[in-house]
Amino acid sequence: MTIKTDDYTVGYNSQENRGTLSGILRLASPASYDDAFGELKAALENNEQPLTIDMAAVTFMNSSGITALSRLVISARALNRPLILVGNAAVPWQKKTIPSLKKLYEKLEIRIT
């Protein structure tokens, strides 16, 4: 299923267990991200295989988004599920902020290239 708004797109490929986010994610609160991240959260709960969330094409994310993403990481930790975050080193906010989420969950794998 794909969510597409004027600002961002969220897609999920169930065969690869891979979510892809792109665009601008600057929603008003962490709860505003429930719809955007809902399928990813369900994938964590229902699929034991590693979930990959590719954020390389997210040009901006605000602190509400970082909070929502952090809570997804905490969910993965609670379920003991492997989680991979993919980012783009050429996008400053990704290079700076995504790696720090590793401190929330030791099994979180960060791939910034």
Binding site: P92, W93, L104
Partner: protein, 189 residues
């Protein structure tokens, strides 16, 4: 709270002879609440304007817009009266990029900010980030309050805050939040 508080690197704004760029915006929070996308639009516009001062414009735009957007959102969320103006100024002088927002809030929010900033200014930002995320997730608290922490942790921002009681309005406080970035660091992204 009955008197003014100043934290961190807050300095009273003054004219700088060596100003490279300066832009100020006065807005009504209601406008941004009505269309939240306006926060990002405003941040992008101001960042585009200032990014011409940097050799790596694309990277500078991303950094500056991210920082601006955070401060804009905070000033809207914590404004007591959403119909009352908020001021934002971005200045580039010497090797400093400085952003200041000024908004009015109530005593309850002023107290919370007072407690928050005391931690923010002194604590290890990486540790504080994790603590805030874990603590607010456990309490199922909606907001995590990691915005300013992230600016310190990931952008090397120095932060100053002034909370001043309003003489004319009971239980109203003027909150000025100053964030300074090293312009050379912005250009080195």
């Amino acid at each position: 709270m009955t008197h003014d508080f100043v934290y961190g690197n807050y300095t009273q704004p003054s004219f700088k002879h060596n100003t490279i760029s300066e832009l100020s915006v006065r807005f009504v929070p209601l406008d941004l609440v009505a269309h939240w996308r306006r926060c990002g639009l405003t941040a992008d516009f101001l960042a585009h304007f200032v990014s011409y001062n940097f050799s790596n414009r694309e990277a500078a735009l991303n950094v500056i817009s991210t920082v601006l957007n955070e401060l804009l959102e905070n000033s809207v969320k914590f404004s007591l009266d959403k119909a009352r103006h908020v001021n934002l100024v971005i200045s580039h002088y010497d090797d400093i990029l400085a952003i200041e927002t000024v908004n009015i809030t109530d005593g309850e929010n002023a107290e919370k900010l007072n407690d928050y900033v005391q931690k923010l200014v002194d604590a290890d930002a990486d540790r504080l980030f994790v603590e805030q995320i874990e603590h607010t997730a456990n309490l199922e608290r909606e907001a995590s309050g990691v915005g300013l922490i992230t600016l310190r942790k990931d952008y090397g921002a120095t932060i100053g805050v002034k909370i001043a009681s309003s003489d004319s309005d009971h239980d109203c406080y003027e909150v000025a939040v100053q964030v300074r970035l090293n312009a050379e660091e912005v250009d080195r992204q």
